[in-house]
């Protein structure tokens, strides 16, 4: 097990190098338009001396591989450089934004787990009933609705049409939160629903099909022949088997959400990691983009590893690097 974890961590290194190299190539002169010094200073005229100073500071005169070396060396020391636009360190920027992303991701994942799993179970246990048809239809619609469109629709409906009733609570972007008369979590509702929408639909569908498959297995008949109640058969014997793929999906999805939901955060002006990267791309704030992507890659890799390990806990047939039979 420890050997397996160690091997998986080693495997992350080439992925990590690949991602950073790719990002470096993208910013090499001629690949993307724009003079790096102009990106930093904006359009105002600057003196040659200042230009010189900026080039020195960001090591822009060095060959690309040298720059890469400097960047990675700093990175290993926990330094992701400084934003071109704001004179703050990239680490500080993301340290500021990450809790917002985390809060949104947690809220969305809770919705996804509760609603998705419950809908999937009900749908499978009462196959072809009204609830089943309702779940099947609504999930088909949800998976094909663009997230930003759903977000805007919710804003229009709750924020504008029902403004009197909601007091504008669910429409406020985070920046106004401090002055809001509502507790923080109220502002989470709409973005969390939006972010969770597609995944919840997927969880419900996976749960339904896995549950139906599990309930058709021979071990279910064995459990029934023991005299167990239908409830025990469903929730003890079928559910534990059916949950395995769902847990994987939710885990990986959580990784994706943690790395910032660009569309949802942008639509709701939610000051998280995804929106920060989105803005930085627009401003060609290269260190922020690069730092953000690196943080995302690391988070996703770690969560994927945790998901794989949880698999071994849930499914006794899988034992990573365990004793050979």
């Amino acid at each position: 097990m420890i050997k397996y974890v160690f091997r998986r961590i080693l495997q992350m290194i080439p992925v990590f190098i690949g991602v950073t190299v790719l990002l470096f190539i993208l910013r090499a002169p001629g690949v993307l338009p724009g003079d790096p010094v102009r990106m930093i200073t904006g359009e105002r005229p600057i003196s040659d001396a200042l230009r010189e100073q900026i080039i020195k500071k960001h090591a822009l005169d060095q060959p690309l591989h040298k720059q890469y070396y400097i960047y990675v060396t700093n990175l290993l020391k926990g330094d992701l450089g400084e934003s071109y636009q704001r004179r703050t360190s990239v680490v500080d920027i993301f340290a500021d934004k990450f809790p917002n992303t985390l809060r949104l991701a947690l809220a969305a994942i809770v919705i996804e787990i509760i609603v998705g799993i419950a809908a999937g179970i009900i749908s499978a246990v009462r196959q072809y009933s009204f609830s089943d048809v309702f779940v099947t239809l609504s999930t088909s619609v949800l998976v094909s609705v663009p997230v930003f469109w759903l977000g805007m629709l919710l804003q229009i409906f709750f924020g504008i049409r029902l403004k009197e009733w909601t007091g504008g609570a669910v429409f406020l972007p985070m920046s106004q939160m401090s002055s809001s008369q509502f507790p923080d979590w109220v502002h989470l509702i709409l973005p969390a629903i939006t972010l969770a929408s597609v995944s919840t639909a997927y969880v419900a569908r996976i749960m339904r099909s896995q549950m139906l498959e599990a309930m058709g297995q021979d071990y279910i008949r064995t459990a029934e022949a023991k005299g167990l109640t239908r409830r025990a058969v469903i929730f003890r014997h079928a559910l534990k088997n059916a949950l395995i793929p769902v847990v994987t999906f939710v885990g990986i999805d959580f990784g994706v959400m943690m790395s910032g939901a660009i569309l949802t955060e942008t639509v709701f002006s939610w000051p998280g990691v995804g929106r920060e990267i989105f803005l930085a791309v627009g401003q060609r704030d290269w260190p922020v983009v690069m730092g953000g992507v690196i943080i995302i890659v690391v988070i996703v890799m770690i969560i994927n590893l945790l998901v794989d390990l949880s698999y071994a806990v849930l499914d006794p047939r899988i034992r990573y690097g365990g004793a050979q039979e």
Binding site: Y219, R221, A223, A225, T229, K240, D315
Partner: protein
Amino acid sequence: MAALLEVRDLATHFFTRDGVVKAVDGISFSLDPGKTLAVVGESGSGKSVTALSIMRLIQEPAGRIVDGEVYFKGDSVLAMNESQVRDLRGDRIAMIFQDPMTSLNPVFRVGRQIGESLMLHRHLSRKDAFERAIELLDMVGIPHPRDRARDYPHQFSGGMRQRAMIAMALACDPDILIADEPTTALDVTIQAQILELMSELQERTGTAIIMITHDLGIVADMADDVMVMYAGKQIEYGPADSVFYRSGHPYTWGLLDSLPRHDVDEKGTLLPITGQPPSLINVPSGCAFHPRCRYAREICPREVPASREVGEGHFAACHFAGQDGFVRGAAQAGGEVA
């Protein structure tokens, strides 16, 4: 004395898109305590559906017991409510299945699965149930039962899994053990071990066994009574010796002829029954076996044969059963085919 289990005119049908599948159509038998009944027939003849019907495990609404009676110690099983049947299942009547690979739940420890019915029916604590499961594993001949109880099913071999299934079924000391082709999925040598184990445990516990199989050969030593099924119908039923040596039905003769015989040298020919078992949606008219029967005459497709007593407690559902000269081996030439 009332029989332990009494089944009368049982009929279970499945209502499918293609039509009504008469999976079981008029089965009657009785089982006394400690005895073994062998239920024999080709695949698809309704053996498993018979067993599941007795346990009331037919999935409604697709399948339904449409007729008949099942009495357990004189109580009508079909009249019981859901919770009364659950009290019976796993406690008084236990069942083991054909494929031990898939019949155990892969995500629970073997000991836990064995202990589950003890927690349910005997209200043992989880710990006591697990301890008892270890004893049961020991009883079915699994070495190092204390360690193996903590294993998951995939860590067991096929034969060991079937032993674990037997331990699970015998946990509450049931009156009846229904074994649905318990050795079909196993190698020949393991088959013999499992059958031997079952006989041995039966002697020790006094459990009556309904042994379902498609192979008459494997039950020859074990069975007290034999019931032969064909296309959902009971075509022969009686004491094992009588059925083996004085069978009254050409289908049973076919089954007996297709057994490999150890007392005859290589010249002993295997005579398989020709043709395919019929669809249970369009069962042939009259005697369902007539299209494959080489003794079939004009009456056979026309009239459903009644069950005739051909020996003491021995019944065969053939128009000619019991007639002089209509015995296995006599009309071998098949000259009388219509």
